[in-house]
Amino acid sequence: MLLDAERVIKNFGGLTAVNRVTLQVDASQIVGLIGPNGAGKTTFLNCVAGTYPPSAGKVRFQGKETTGSTPEDMCRMGLSRTFQIPRPFPMLTALENVMVGAVFGAEHGSKKPARGRAEEALKFVNFPLALDTPAQRLNAVQLKRLDLARALACGPKLLFLDELASGLTPGELDTMMALILKIRDTYGVGMIVVEHIMKVITGICERVLVIQYGTPIAEGTPREVMQDPKVIEAYLGEEVVA
């Protein structure tokens, strides 16, 4: 098993943002994590990726306990993530942005030159612009591709994608889904995909965990989960993007 997160809790003062979430991911497996706004999805990813330590619970990654590890250590062990709001290095070029991941990520010891791996990652995500374009000139959608390329260039075994598809047109959505599947098939990475767009979840996820107010309320295949009355209730009042 690639990732085994057990009863993870995260408190912010009086608020329990993540409440006993248990989630497992295998290699080449895409797991969806969904829930209404503020449900604690990003916070859960942050706890596993080391942005901050969980208040309680256990995280095992590739068989080793990694609870409370730093984000740089998690990255070097093979966990990459994209950010919900893509955060590039604004003054660096697109290529340099991805180079950061290639030089310092999980493949930092690789014999293959970092530059080549960075170019490969940009090509893989079909980055549409010249590689020397400064990151600060990119629009939101281009930034998401760049962030994905940076995460890929780290050489992950496990990849967290936090609302990578939001803001895309329906056509772009299909391309993005195909790209995510291609990443899985080419590199065999496991993924946790956080997404509000149900089409993406049903289209690519093998298994889905639904959380609400930090607490898991349903788990299963996308089809099972969508029909779960608790899930329907949780999303009531929210527009479910079909």
């Binding site: 984000p71 740089e72 990459s80 180079m99 950061v100 030089v103 310092f104 990520g105 940076r150 780290c154």
Partner: protein, 350 residues
């Protein structure tokens, strides 16, 4: 064809140590200036020395401010700590309580190490702080160092100042110019080589986006502390030059925050994150300000007002500074040349 590849190889080699062919020519001109009138006059040689001293400081300062994006407001105080260390170690006079009598040539290295140690401490202290908070913390350290220099009267004589031994017996400025020019080059080439390596990429990544840098596998502690240490090391080393050149040290003239601000302004006007921008403009600036002083007025602090206004103008209208302007102009020029060649081609082509 062969000639061209040789030319390319030379210019690539120069690029590694941070010089363009034009930069090298300017450097050679600078090195020859002390033999040319009016630059061979002693008071103008002093301006050249001040220029190189400030230029080298700009490089060491930009290494931190322009890369990891933390303004080290304690920079001048750390430089002063290096200066005092070397000055006290060189002392033979009974006016202060210790007389180690160490050669200044050795002392400046010990001063540099001591300053580097302080830089290491500042790096650790500011580790969890970002941007302005780290700058303020570094500023506090600077104020504390200034206070220490003022109050350790039995070895520094405090505000009364001390008179360190000079490097050389001579009263001529010319040899000192070559000492500081060599030191400037050592600082520049060393730091240039560091930022060309993976360290430079890590510095920039940490400075531009702390979280994304960490998520990409960069250990910010390591790189940030290393950056502070190295910058402070060179600051302290340059402080040693100051002590053993001027032969006079007071805490206020060397370690005050306004000295840091002067370097900061030059580094910003020169172009943050370029290393060379501040170094290049330091010389014309020192000459401009000194000329203004000797011809017009000697208002104290006038140069700071001028720096301040220019710096604000640069930060508002042209954040890339002189180095950015140079890159832009070079781009435009080569574009024009390419177009001119393109127009000529149809005639030449068979």
């Amino acid at each position: 064809m062969d000639q061209k590849s040789l030319w390319n190889r030379i210019s690539d080699g120069l690029g590694i140590i941070g010089f363009t062919p034009l930069g090298l020519v300017l450097l050679i001109v600078l090195a020859l200036l002390p033999f040319v009138s009016p630059f061979n006059q002693e008071h103008i040689l002093r301006w050249l020395i001040m220029g190189a001293f400030l230029a080298a400081q700009c490089v060491a300062f930009d290494f931190t401010a322009g890369y990891i994006n933390v303004v080290n407001f304690g920079f001048a105080a750390i430089l002063g700590a290096g200066a005092y260390t070397s000055a006290v170690l060189a002392n033979t006079s009974p006016v202060i309580s210790v007389q180690p009598g160490l050669s200044p040539w050795i002392g400046i290295w010990i001063g540099a190490l001591f300053a580097g140690l302080i830089g290491f401490g500042v790096g650790i202290l500011t580790l969890r702080l970002r941007g302005i908070f780290a700058a303020v913390m570094a500023w506090f350290v600077g104020i504390a160092l200034l206070g220490v220099a003022n109050n350790l009267t039995n070895i520094t004589r405090g505000p009364m100042g001390m008179a360190p031994r000079t490097f050389l017996e001579t009263t001529s400025n010319r040899p000192y110019f070559y000492i500081i020019l060599a030191m400037m080059l050592i600082v520049y080439i060393t730091l240039r080589l560091v930022v060309r390596s993976r360290f430079g990429l890590a510095f920039k990544a940490i400075g531009q986006n702390f979280d994304a840098a960490r998520a990409s596998g960069i250990n910010p502690t390591l790189y940030r502390v290393f950056n502070f240490t190295l910058s402070a090391f060179f600051a302290g080393w340059l402080g040693g030059f100051y002590a053993h050149y001027f032969g006079s040290l007071t805490p206020q003239t060397l370690m005050h925050t306004s000295k840091t601000v002067e370097v900061l302004a030059l580094a910003y006007i020169g172009g943050r994150g370029s290393l060379w921008g501040g170094m290049a403009i330091a010389f014309p600036f020192v000459f401009g300000i000194e000329a203004l002083r000797s011809n017009l007025t000697d208002l104290p602090g006038l140069h700071l007002v001028i720096y301040g206004v220019l710096m604000i103008a640069i930060m508002v209208y042209y954040p890339a500074g002189f180095a950015g302007f140079y890159a832009w102009a070079k781009d435009k020029l080569s574009g024009l040349l390419a177009r001119a060649r393109g127009q000529a081609q149809p005639i030449e082509a068979p």
